[in-house]
């Protein structure tokens, strides 16, 4: 994985929307479902988000993301269904455990809220390149330094993983055992962390030099190479 993030390469109208717009949608739809905890509102937004995800042809990926929280969702149903404070009307029983209507309804609201948040942010994450999102935020006022730090972390962390592999290779070649007692594994950890951290720090220093050379500190108004449909002024 070269870049941290969930971006899926496609060419759809949703992909072409400005990242900031998508971010606003995600935040808005999440906030609304928190402010108005009704099932109708929840379903409405969820349908909208799913629809957008479908246009973006990333529905499969969204479902994968939702699967991740499936266990959480089920436990919400179990816990709320059985132990919600406002439980009053029993609905059914299973293995001597009673599930109540009020709790289950509340669980529906909570799970809808969760699914909504994931679907709405899913649109953002699945159809937007992280570097584009950061670019857009910088364009709207986010400090370029902060933007740079976030954007570079997304690529440099996976890089560190491949460097780590090479370090492990080099140390194993010198007889380092990776498995065995805790003591052995701790030694292995040190032999890996040392060069990784040191190397990263030195590299970071060189990178800062390179940024300096390429005008990063310039106080002129920056140009943005990328163009997003609504940002065209």
């Amino acid at each position: 994985m070269r870049v941290l993030g969930l971006y899926v390469e496609r060419d759809t109208p949703v992909h072409k929307l400005a990242p900031f717009t998508k971010l606003m949608y995600a935040v808005t739809s999440t906030v609304v479902t928190f402010l108005f905890p009704s099932i109708t509102v929840g379903i409405l937004f969820l349908v909208l988000s799913v629809f957008l995800n479908t246009i973006a042809r990333v529905l499969k990926h969204l479902i994968a993301l939702l699967m991740v929280v499936s266990v959480l969702s089920i436990s919400i149903f179990l816990i709320q269904g059985m132990f919600y404070v406002g439980n009053y009307t029993p609905l059914f029983s299973l293995l001597r455990l009673t599930f109540y209507k009020e709790g289950l309804l509340r669980a529906v609201v909570l799970v809808l809220r969760l699914f909504n948040m994931i679907s709405a942010f899913g649109i953002l994450m699945l159809t937007t390149r992280p570097s584009d999102l950061i670019d857009d935020l910088v364009r709207r006022g986010l400090s370029p330094n902060v933007g740079y730090v976030i954007a570079s972390v997304l690529q440099i962390v996976p890089q560190m993983l491949s460097t780590a592999t090479r370090i492990i290779d080099a140390q194993r070649s010198r007889g380092l055992e990776m498995n065995g007692s805790f003591h052995k594994r701790f030694k292995a950890f040190l032999a890996l962390i040392g060069p990784l951290v040191l190397g990263s720090l030195l590299e970071a220093r060189e990178r800062a030099l390179a940024l300096e050379i390429r005008g990063f500190e310039a106080r002129t108004k920056r140009t943005f190479l990328k163009d997003f449909s609504e940002s065209k002024r």
Binding site: R2, V3, R129, S131, I134, G147, Y148, A151, S152, Q155, I156, P158, Q159, L202, E203, E206, R207, A208, L209, A210, L211, E212, I213, R214, G215, F216, E217, A218, R219, T220, K221, R222, T223, F224, L225, D227
Partner: protein, 287 residues
């Protein structure tokens, strides 16, 4: 006092913080506009430090003990405004891996980065990026992620990213270290092109056989001191070259072994001249 020198260094002495040894000691020389100057010396001689001093990054970035002056077009490099400095002098560092910003996911965007910072209009950015990528034979790779490139391609990317800023002076610190002979030739061809466009070039290089064909003069450093600043053949004929075991072009070494000098009294450093001298030497012996 109006100087026509592009670069002028006066008694530059510098030591890194926490170091009791001077990385550079009493360095003085001038480079005229459009000249191409090489820097040679053993690792640790101060070549990279000198490159950093030319751009002002020493002392700006590194602090340390600094005395003397580095002048670009007569102006002290520490006084030139940052924005002006970036388009005046560019530096390609030694390690290509740590020059990728990391904030861009394609080679194209990576090269455009510097121009975005400077507020260059979008159309001009596109023009310049395309030109420089094509010149360095990276156009085919423009949509690839920089981290997927090989060491040699990264080196070319690093050069492209600085070249696109169109500096008047370009400093390159071992730009071919990761490259094989094919890649090395490509880089030197770019250098030659830049030279013909009037760009002043300073380059640190160990591949002497290529270096001597392109430079007007060479600075020879050893332990922070400048041993000599002269034409290539004069430099490589100095006894200090052997004393400090700096090495020389292979055919120069041959000529030294056969004690065959050229008409000016120096050991030849260029290939064609060396071939001529060696042929003569061969005719004059029983080989």
């Amino acid at each position: 006092m109006g100087s026509t020198e592009k670069i002028k260094i006066e008694s530059l002495t510098y030591a890194y913080p926490f170091s009791d040894k001077n990385a550079l000691e009493n360095i003085s020389f001038s480079i005229m506009p459009g000249e191409c100057v090489g820097i040679i010396g053993r690792n640790g001689a101060g070549k990279s430090t000198l490159c950093l001093a030319l751009t002002g990054l020493v002392p700006k970035f590194f602090k340390g003990r600094y005395s003397g002056k580095v002048l670009l077009d007569g102006e002290d490099v520490r006084q030139i405004s940052y924005e002006k400095l970036v388009t005046k002098i560019g530096l390609v560092l030694q390690n290509p891996f740590s020059q990728i910003t990391g904030a861009r996911i394609t080679v194209y965007e990576e090269v455009a980065f510097g121009l975005e910072n400077l507020g260059i209009p979008r159309d001009e950015i596109k023009q310049r990026v395309e030109a420089v990528l094509k010149a360095l034979d990276l156009w085919e790779k423009r949509d690839e992620n920089p981290f997927e490139l090989s060491g040699g391609q990264l080196q070319k990317l690093a050069i492209a990213s600085v070249l696109v800023l169109q500096p008047e002076v370009l400093v390159l610190d071992e730009p071919t270290s990761q490259l094989d002979s094919g890649g090395t030739k490509e880089v030197f061809e770019i250098i030659s092109q830049m030279k013909s466009q009037g760009i002043t070039i300073v380059l640190v290089e160990h591949k002497y056989e290529m270096l001597v064909e392109y430079v007007d003069k060479i600075i020879f450093l050893q332990e922070g001191k400048m041993i000599a600043f002269d034409e290539a053949e004069k430099i490589f004929s100095l006894p200090e070259i052997d004393e400090y075991m700096v090495g020389e072009p292979i055919y120069t070494k041959l000529c030294k072994k056969l004690n065959s000098k050229n008409s000016r009294g120096y050991y030849p450093v260029k290939f064609s001249e060396a071939v001529g001298i060696l042929r003569e030497a061969r005719c004059g012996s029983d080989r």
